[in-house]
């Protein structure tokens, strides 16, 4: 599992290397981990609250394959495997080109810090790197949407 860093208030950072690219965003959310986890693992509901996701087909369960269509490349369907799930703590998705980690950590404010971290790479990476759009804006929007939705739910009376 990748190491996490301190919250960056929703600002994404990208580290580019010859054979890899890593984008990370983290954001503090004033909600229970259970709410954030439920939002992150309910495939059919995703596009309602997450403006970066066009659709997710399949079930977000460990070992399952899902089909993701993102606003980053709406003409493409990404086939991704849900490799690992630790309820309310961590989830790991991946395909042949990269791995994405979602982490939920309790923070000192009584809420959680959500971290999304994706690393793509490999020996062939330099050949197709230029065709992959930057993720920063997309990651920031993702984190912002998650925070907004989770906090609305947490404040439900």
């Amino acid at each position: 599992m990748m190491t996490t860093t301190n919250a960056q208030n929703g600002k994404a950072t990208t580290i580019k290397k010859t054979f890899s690219r890593q984008t990370k965003v983290s954001i503090d959310i004033n909600a229970d981990a259970a709410i954030v986890w439920t939002l992150l693992t309910n495939a059919s509901d995703f596009s309602r609250w997450n403006s970066t996701v066009v659709s997710i087909d399949g079930e977000i369960k460990e070992g399952e394959k899902i089909k993701l269509v993102s606003t980053l490349a709406p003409e493409r369907t990404f086939k991704i495997k849900v490799k690992e799930m630790q309820p309310e703590k961590m989830m790991h998705w991946g395909d042949g080109k990269g791995d994405r980690y979602f982490t939920i950590e309790q923070n000192k404010n009584g809420g959680v810090t959500f971290i999304m971290d994706e690393k793509m790479g490999g020996l062939m990476f330099p050949m197709y790197a230029k065709y992959i759009p930057p993720f920063d804006e997309n990651f920031e929007q993702y984190a912002k949407d998650l925070k907004k939705e989770a906090e609305i739910i947490a404040n439900t009376k």
């Binding site: 909600a31 229970d32 259970a34 709410i35 439920t38 939002l39 309910n42 509901d45 309602r48 609305i152 739910i153 947490a154 439900t156 009376k157």
Partner: protein
Amino acid sequence: MNNDILAREFEACKDQLKSYIVRITTSVQDTEDIIQDTYIKAQTKLDTFKGESSLKTWLFAIASNLAKDLLKAKKRWPENVTDICKDAAMNSETFFGEAMHIAHTSPQGSFEIKEHIAFCFTCVSKSLPLEQQLTVLLKEVYDFKVKEIAAILEQTDAMIKYYLHTGRSKMIEVFDHRCSLINKEGVCHQCSELNGVFNPKQNQQEVLAQLQLVKDANSKDKEQLFDIRMEVLKGLDPFKSGAAELQLHHLEHNRKVMEKYLEKNS
């Protein structure tokens, strides 16, 4: 706690329980069975009631579990259930004849649009996942608090908040898209069409203009309009209202149509 107190409390909330269960099962027979089983189960398990919740909450928990057991293997209905059932009614040789007979002979056979609004919500809310439907009903129609619903459905407060928010959001979008009472572009006019059938002498525009949903359609937001819709449900008992027999006949029809439809399309 003893059987006398249970009997009194059960009697006090029986109407609400029945109304809740029929809105989940859409079956009068299943509702009667569940209500009877709820009482029997409560009697036999009374010694396990620790008073951590109210007796009413506990009874709703028992009834909810029985309803969930009944429905867990059944598919949920599609959002356009009323379109599918309308087509079936139009092609039925018996539906309108039976409905007209009820309308002309039953003391609970008078068609009213607000009753159809409640009926319509019962059908359309079956497109929600079951836990979301139960949560929305318990909170918005039967006035339970999040903690009480968490006890009834054996879930965490966080999950109940999620179900409530998601269920409300989905229903708000469905009605905003479909209901011509609140949206001029809405694709469903079934309540006014049926009013024309059952009350042909009424001035349709005048009747519609008296409805709170229609009055507020342009001045209130979607959330507020949903709250008004929930107020309509709160104010009606599906077994005791002036249109109860007519609407329950319609509900029975829709349930049978959907069972066939879902079997055919499985």
